[in-house]
Symmetry: C3
Subunit: 274 residues, 3 copies
């Protein structure tokens, strides 16, 4: 199944409109190209709708949020909804400031998201108006573990039912769920949190996956999450073999996305349904 998802992205070259932060934007563009998509970045309100119109999907990321681009997010999101383009939200740092939390909530009100992707702390902030966010990392108290996984899955399914979006919760164990069905993914490596942008890159790549597989968004998300995590494992091995560090790890990660075959993804993916 993951195989077909991946091949669809490579075959269809989905063009993705990204309104995203300036910290990891270059990595997002390069991972979109690596996975077989095509990126366009545009955040001025005077062109947001037009750019979305020529694209296949939209990726909204609120890292380095600023007041000038919030209207662009709303305009692009509404236009994407009108055109039935898939839209993903990455609520980076929701819970860390009032601006981010209230903007994320406003976006949820104004736009129907196909996918919402965050760590457990960010997702909790959106879901229950609580949750503590230490910077952009999930609060340790809110960690998803083998012990609380069933509760977490239930919570995520409920949030999906409430929003109509597929929810991706990233962490040591990732959860991907709609209101009825959930997957947990055990791919990935702790090294991935030693570079900036793995979360942002996952959102950008997922935008390509749901755009090229818009008849099956849940499994498209699953494929993207497995791919990112498995690429992290491979990149980590290569980093150790070559005595490299986190900067080169970033290159290995994107390189792996570029080179991995769909058969390798099928073999390397570690997921189960819940």
């Amino acid at each position: 199944m993951l195989k077909e998802m991946m091949e669809n992205v490579r075959k269809k070259t989905p063009l993705i409109h990204n309104i995203t932060n300036y910290v990891t934007v270059n990595d997002c563009a390069n991972i979109l190209l690596a996975c077989g998509g095509s990126p366009i970045m545009a955040d001025d309100s005077n062109e947001a709708e037009e750019i979305t119109t020529i694209c296949g999907g939209l990726n909204i990321n609120i890292g380095t949020l600023n007041k000038n681009t919030i209207p662009s997010m709303i305009l692009a999101g509404k236009k994407a909804n009108e055109l039935s383009h898939p839209v993903i939200l990455d609520p980076v740092g929701a819970g860390a400031s009032t601006l981010r939390t209230s903007t994320a909530n406003d976006l949820l009100k104004e736009i129907n998201f196909s996918v919402i992707k965050g760590n457990i702390s960010e997702i909790k902030t959106l879901a229950v108006g609580s949750g503590t966010t230490k910077g952009v990392d999930a609060d340790i108290a809110d960690k998803v573990t083998d012990e609380n996984i069933d509760d977490a899955v239930k919570f995520v399914k409920e949030f999906s039912a409430k929003t109509g979006a597929v929810i991706i919760v990233t962490g040591e164990t990732d959860i991907i769920a709609d209101s009825k069905k959930a997957y947990i993914v055990k791919n990935g490596h702790a090294m991935m949190s030693n570079i900036t942008g793995t979360g942002c890159m996952l959102s950008a790549m997922t935008a390509a996956y749901i755009t090229a597989n818009n008849d099956n968004m849940l499994e498209a998300c699953l494929a993207s999450v497995c791919l990112m995590g498995y690429a992290g494992e491979i990149a980590y091995k290569k980093m150790i073999e070559t005595g490299a560090g986190n900067s080169t790890f970033r290159n290995y990660l994107i390189d792996t996305i570029f080179n991995l075959t769909s058969e390798e993804l099928e073999r390397g993916a570690k997921y189960e349904s819940k």
Copy 2:
């Protein structure tokens, strides 16, 4: 001839003022350093003129265009004209949105550009007010091929006559022309479109080339285009040898610009006059 162009850049260390997009800005700075130039990025209207004044050349790139920086582009461009500094325009995505097309047209009205560099779709948008732009890539219908090359060269020469600028049209075959003379370049590799920023990097590097060789802008552009393309070929070979992917390819590309000798450039350049 290319040899002297390259050596002049390395000898003179031209300081280039860049008003450019936030996606590829880091790559632009690093390629400027790699080729022997020196970058300064500044886009606030309160300092645009002053910064241009202390520089030797100006690079204006309209990717991630936003309304705050448009006045800065105009101010810097006019000041550069006043000081007879070379100015290059990269109309990224012209044709993709009204904002980009109209801004590019406004810039052409207000500023005398030394060089305009784009793909065939962007250049057509500026030249004839038509042209279709799919994201930031040239429309496939507008591709320059061996069959239509003479027509394309004629069109480019005419646009040069109209604007007074050297025109660079990038693609599988690149065209560099002023109103009287044209070159076509066959360097480069398809891999270059698998990373973000090769176009932006070419513009930034070309700014350094025309600044250090301002008595011969056409051939300075030719040298820069050959260098970028040839570096792409070398970087691709190294990528294949090392089993790397697109992220590492970007590093190899910039590394090659850093290390290539002027003799190697002369030998590797594949161009002819038209």
Copy 3:
């Protein structure tokens, strides 16, 4: 001594709020992660104070300065002062434009900085209202040499007395001083000026060092400067061994920060007190 400084950063994982330029922001985030810190970038005035509040230290960098973020710098700086968080200023390009010089001076008036880090030209601009800045590099006439080192150290100590900040002057020889004590550092390699961002990265990393070692800021700065310079030497060696260029050098530099042990830092550091 440097050993303990380094270990404190790795043990405490200081969360650093960065208001910085969009050219080198990704490198700043990755070097913060490499050294053991944790980055958050936020520059909107609506969240600047809140973000600073959840962080341990603040890094203000005026590269690609724009009028929207200046109020955010002031708000965040005042809040950090109120909370006794360490704050570092990197006055990138002070002296190159009125906007940068006057903003740097305004920041000095409004905020008590723990550390101010620049090249000799930038520091002179702030200190005596003179100094010439060629782009973002120190003016050659103002170079610190073995001949004028005593005068330079005296000048730096005086500027520290005036501002209450530890002053870092970067160059072939680095000077780190408070009003009473100074160190000079001979680590580093000329190659470091062939990539963008070594200065910005040093400021970001130093923010982590002073935050994790806020009882001894002078030596924390010394450790950070030695680490950066020594990492540059190691990265240069690796670059030569592998036939790489400046882009890969950047990766090696950050990788080295990630991998270097505190014992290696102690052995490699080349400093003396003055």
